[in-house]
């Protein structure tokens, strides 16, 4: 079962990685963006980590993370990560434990809502390129073993992230560059990969 303790650990670990990699994310956001993705994510996660820790149920934890992202981040990634967590929270009842399959389905719903909000499709060179394959992998492996599924999700995210490098951006700030966006890895796809890296690490 997925517990509030696991969710707390997941969000805390995601926060740690973001803190560690904030400079790198901002660096990725410099040539094809506006040099703030690391700072944005850090601001959000600084609020999200304690909020998740103090919520009594999983849906309340995800909602707290979503609200933190929505109200602290701004920019493009704030409403998108906010949507991801808020919509995921809505699919779960007020429970302190949920089945792995329910949890995976919740994340898929969140990721779908994010893509809808951003009007982004896989291939547009956005965080969707990491998120969509990650939640798909999580769902398809969740029946076996959650740790393995989380690991598969992280691998899928990372492959999606890596694939953004050769893509022409069609959404967000990078799209202004057209063909010149090729050769740069998308910062949002990278932060999204960390989300699943954190999940894999705490699920081991």
């Amino acid at each position: 079962m997925i517990t509030t303790a696991l969710v707390s650990a997941w969000i805390a670990r995601f926060g740690e990685i973001i803190e560690d990699r904030a400079d790198y994310l901002t660096k990725l956001d410099s040539p094809i963006g506006d040099a703030d993705h690391g700072a944005n994510m850090l601001r959000g996660m600084t609020a999200a980590v304690p909020a998740a820790e103090n919520a009594p149920t999983i849906d309340a934890q995800l909602k707290a993370v979503g609200m933190a992202m929505l109200s602290k981040v701004g920019g493009t990634s704030g409403p998108l990560y906010g949507t991801l967590f808020l919509k995921a929270a809505m699919t779960l009842g007020q429970r302190a434990e949920v089945a792995p399959s329910e949890f995976a389905a919740a994340l898929r719903t969140g990721a779908d809502a994010l893509a809808f909000r951003g009007k982004a499709e896989p291939g547009d060179k956005t965080m969707v390129d990491a998120l969509a394959p990650a939640v798909a992998a999580l769902e398809s492996h969740v029946a076996e073993d959650f740790a393995a599924a989380a690991e598969a999700a992280h691998r899928a995210a990372d492959e999606g992230r890596a694939a953004t490098t050769d893509m022409v951006a069609r959404k967000g700030r990078a799209s202004y560059l057209g063909e010149r966006s090729v050769g740069h890895t998308d910062p949002g796809a990278t932060s999204a990969t960390y989300l699943f890296q954190a999940l894999a690490e705490v699920s081991r």
Partner: protein
């Protein structure tokens, strides 16, 4: 990075403290990071809310005051404000006649204002939104996020601010805003990159002998990079795409030559002279002129040209009194 700041984390909080101390026309809601008129509008008038990432000062906080904005939502540097900031501003300034959101066309700004508007609508506020997308440097195609909103926003805020002050209704004000937005085109260039405080280094590297044509106000790369030329050539590279994009013949226009933040006024005047010469040669009638730092990009050196077609109504509203830190006349 050389900046007069206390720390990258405190930039916005400290700047808002300074705005509050410097500008008697406004008050600051520090919790929500909203700059509001000290002396609110009368009941029954449409209110204008704008905002966006910081670093473009005086846009938008410097345009809060009589004849222009009622509130500006202040995001982190180059980061759109959040839905709850927008909600707070919108409910605070509503005088029962509805609120117009003036939003620059960036994915983040559009999404956050959309969500803020939804929340305000849920609370019964009549919200309309106009999205400004005046930057001709970006191709407007389904393969991009669409054109960026840049310095033309100032013209929209001025004209519609005057109309709202006169008592124009929400629907009409939104339509007017759209009309001004549709009549406005801009194009910018950079000599140097800006440096985001939290990033601590220049967003891009521009060699000592190169310039970037078609730059965005967040240091987003432009159309192309080329060897640095002279003011006459830069003027041509900014004016030509504007004139190619919209017909400015047979109309009065408002011309804004805008500095990106680190360009001295003497250079803006040189550029202004070149731009005027080109427009005269092209038969464009310039009826109103602005030159200075109106929509900046932190410490970027560079400039942009904005041209707006203006009929008699737009000119009259542009000339109406305005009393803000960034734009003031007739009051």
């Amino acid at each position: 990075m050389k900046k007069l700041i206390n720390s990258p984390e405190r930039v916005i909080a400290d700047a808002l403290r300074g705005v509050e101390a410097a500008d008697e026309r406004v008050r600051v809601d520090h919790t929500n990071r909203v700059i509001l008129r000290a002396d609110p509008k009368a009941q029954g008038k449409v209110a204008l809310v704008s905002g966006g990432g910081s670093g473009h000062e005086p846009l938008h906080g410097g345009y809060v005051g009589h004849g222009m904005l009622d509130a500006a939502c202040v995001g982190e540097v180059f980061t759109s404000p959040t839905p709850d900031q927008i909600l707070a501003a919108t409910t605070e300034v509503d005088r029962g006649a509805g609120v117009l959101h003036i939003v620059k066309n960036y994915t983040g700004d559009v999404m956050n204002f959309e969500m803020g508007a939804e929340l305000a609508t849920d609370l019964g506020v009549d919200v309309r939104t106009v999205v400004i997308a005046d930057d001709v440097a970006v191709e407007d195609s389904t393969y991009t996020a669409g054109r960026r909103g840049v310095a033309g926003t100032v013209v929209v805020e001025k004209v519609v601010g005057a109309a709202a002050e006169e008592g124009m209704g929400l629907g009409e004000a939104a339509a007017l805003a759209q009309r001004v937005a549709d009549s406005t085109r801009s194009m910018g260039m950079a000599l140097t990159s800006c440096t985001v405080p939290a990033a601590g280094r220049p967003t891009f590297d521009l060699p000592e002998d190169e310039m970037e044509i078609g730059i965005g106000i967040h240091g987003e790369p432009g159309r192309h990079r080329e060897p640095l030329t002279d003011a006459a050539d830069v003027a041509r590279q900014l004016v030509e795409p504007i004139l190619a994009d919209l017909d400015f013949a047979d109309a009065d226009t408002i011309l804004l030559v805008n500095g990106m933040g680190a360009t001295p006024l003497i250079e803006l005047h040189i550029l202004f002279g070149e731009v005027m010469a080109l427009l005269e040669a092209a038969g464009v009638r310039v009826a109103r002129r602005l030159v200075g730092n109106y929509a900046t990009s932190l410490d970027m050196a560079g400039a942009s040209v904005t041209l707006a077609r203006a009929d008699a109504e737009i000119l009259r509203l542009f000339d109406a009194p305005v009393n803000t830190a960034g734009l003031r006349w007739g009051a």
